[in-house]
């Protein structure tokens, strides 16, 4: 049978093309090199095969070059600062445009602290919300609730910033932070002057911004756990919560962790909302109530005012730093998510 087929295709390939008989069995390979069939109906014109392929490969190549070029350009533009400060840029805290002395530590500290607060809040709330949507809530409620939570991800960050500055910051100043100080004031984290704007407020706004990411991905990851596994443990007498704890969560662990890291990456690079509520003071303070500064907000605030080349270069180096951090964070997150979704695709 196979031999017959082989014979047929060989023969049909041997026919001159003009005969109009097309080798269907080998169409997949042959079509790539064949001329377009004459089409009589009025169809939109299509570029010729080679032009189309050129476009596809050209666009893909351009895209790849763009991403690589992005990194190289940022690296090249920050050469002055790299040459002047070297690695000490990362752990000195003097930021003085007058003496051209630049150290990024307060900004790195602010970015890490505000993002950590954000992921601690958003991680817990997001995973539980995802669990509710995937495990516990009735189908009819799941879709609209998911939709509302995903809309939260579409709110522009400047709107979050505006809301954070005029609504959330006063609430934090008048109610939340005094309460924290009263009950947890023995910790240095929750003591000190209360301003309203500061690390904690920035962390809370960031948490609101990234919670849809954690929720949506953990919901998908949990929904991907086979139903039979749940049924097996229910048959053993487990409650819904126990099936979540013992079957769904362990199975979805890598993916949920990936969701959190992806969200963390978003928090690390968020600029506008952070700039509006973090307080913009380059100081390292133990108190979460105190104003701080983040990498992205210092770029946003000072870039257009940078007067010297070294200053500009130092700010671009901060951008490069954000770039490198986010590449690492995202690569880790994608790897974790792959381990969950890859087996499903194949």
């Amino acid at each position: 049978m196979a031999k017959l087929e082989e014979q047929n295709t060989v023969q049909s390939l041997g026919f001159p093309r003009a005969s109009g008989i097309r080798p269907t069995a080998l169409a997949l390979d042959a079509a790539a090199e064949s001329r377009p069939v004459p089409v009589r109906a009025k169809l939109p014109r299509v570029p010729r095969g080679w032009a189309f392929e050129l476009c596809v490969y050209g666009a893909t190549g351009a895209f790849g070059a763009l991403v690589v070029g992005l990194f190289i350009e940022l690296l090249w533009s920050s050469r002055l600062s790299i040459a002047a400060f070297g690695m000490s840029f990362l752990w000195t805290s003097e930021w003085n445009p007058v003496t051209n002395q630049f150290g990024a530590l307060p900004f790195i500290y602010g970015t890490i602290v505000s993002s950590t607060i954000a992921i601690l809040i958003a991680g817990v709330v997001g995973i539980l919300s995802g669990a509710f949507l995937a495990e516990f809530c009735p189908q009819s409620l799941s879709a609209p609730l998911s939709f509302v939570i995903e809309l939260l991800a579409a709110v522009p960050s400047v709107v979050y910033g505006l809301w954070g500055l005029f609504i959330l910051a006063p609430v934090m100043r008048d109610y939340v932070e005094p309460l924290l100080e009263r009950y947890l004031g023995f910790l240095p984290l929750f003591s000190g002057t209360i301003y309203g704007v500061g690390m904690l407020t920035a962390g809370v706004i960031l948490a609101i911004m990234i919670v849809p990411t954690v929720t949506a991905i953990s919901r998908d990851v949990m929904a991907a756990i086979p139903q039979t596994q749940r049924e097996a443990i229910w048959a053993l007498g487990a409650t819904r919560w126990q099936s979540f704890q013992m079957v769904v969560l362990p199975g979805a662990r890598a993916g949920v962790f990936g969701a959190c890291i992806l969200a963390l990456g978003r928090a690390l690079g968020e600029t506008i909302a952070t700039t509006m509520v973090i307080g913009n003071r380059p100081a390292i303070s133990a108190s979460l109530f105190a104003p701080g500064y983040s990498i992205s907000s210092v770029i946003a605030n000072e870039f257009t005012e940078a007067t010297t080349q070294v200053y500009l270069s130092a700010l671009i180096e901060l951008g490069l730093l954000l770039f490198i951090i986010s590449v690492i964070v995202n690569a880790v997150a994608r790897l974790l998510l792959w381990t969950i979704f890859r087996p499903l695709e194949n």
Binding site: L151, P156, V158, T239
Partner: protein, 281 residues
């Protein structure tokens, strides 16, 4: 048969756990409503016919609007879309019907990575390649930054939309004797159209709300500016500038601008869902 007991500690714990998770999901939804509610409450007063048709007024002069910002956003985002759609869609096609092996994996990885890179870093890139060498801020440099931000969204959605079209359709087209590019252009793309359009709308919605890269690309302008080679006003940038200003009247304008911005972005998100619905669910 005896009814199983439902009030054992583990059943209570289960009920409590479900209640807490419901509370979290509900709380997140309530926060969205809170934000929307405040934006509408504070912003509705600022919105008037003048607000969307007038230029900004100096501090102290009552009235004024954000018309130049709305038009500027349209121009900047429009040019960005013109740049990003062809490259993004073609790269998406590459990933489905052309790319195999390592290079395709690299491209997919780059797209994933690019989607996570902070917009401010991309703004810096646009600054170093288009603003610094030309020595002036421009709407076009903002479009360039926005196009880069749109690319990963378009690539991913195009890829998944095309993957949603069954491969048999492609093979059937080839079997009828058409060439590969004709099969893709006339059979696959039309079938995947709604998915691709959804991706484009979502990408546009994403950059419309974006502010950070504009600070040192479009820069902002108080005037009516239609030439993308000059510094341009942009709605979200205006909201930011007004919000961090010390003036009460500007704060009101910021809320008004935020309301318009959120309406545009939500309309696009809802629109994308409506386009997607008939074919893919």
């Amino acid at each position: 048969m005896r009814e199983p007991k439902r009030t054992t500690p583990r059943h209570l714990r289960s009920a409590a756990g479900i209640l807490v998770s419901a509370f979290c999901a509900g709380g997140v939804a309530v926060i969205l409503l809170l934000i929307l509610g405040y934006v509408v409450r504070e912003g509705i007063g600022a919105i008037s016919f003048d607000f969307v048709t007038q230029l900004p007024h100096p501090v102290g002069v009552p009235g004024g609007g954000v018309s130049n910002g709305i038009v500027g956003s349209g121009i900047i985002v429009g040019i960005a879309a013109l740049m990003a759609i062809p490259i993004g869609a073609l790269t998406g096609i590459y990933l489905t019907y052309f790319g195999r092996g390592t290079f395709a994996a690299i491209v997919r990885f780059l797209s994933d990575v690019l989607s996570g890179i902070p917009s401010i870093a991309i703004g810096l890139f646009a600054y170093t390649v288009l603003v610094a060498p030309l020595q002036h801020f421009s709407g076009f440099s903002a479009s360039f930054a926005f196009a880069i931000l749109m690319l990963p969204v378009i690539i991913t959605t195009t890829e998944s939309a095309i993957k949603g079209v069954s491969r048999e359709l492609y093979e059937a087209a080839l079997a009828l004797g058409v060439s590969r590019h004709q099969a893709i252009m006339r059979v696959i793309l039309p079938s995947a159209r709604s998915g691709i359009i959804t991706g484009i709308v979502l990408a546009i919605a994403r950059v419309t709300g974006e502010t950070a890269p504009l600070l040192f690309t479009a820069f902002g302008s108080q005037f009516w500016e239609l030439n993308p080679n000059n510094p341009m006003a942009e709605l979200s940038l205006q909201v930011f500038t007004y919000a961090i200003s010390p003036y009460k009247s500007w704060h009101e304008q910021a809320w008004g601008g935020a309301l318009i911005l959120i309406l545009i972005v939500f309309a696009m998100n809802l629109g994308a869902r409506i386009i997607l619905k008939p074919k893919f669910r």
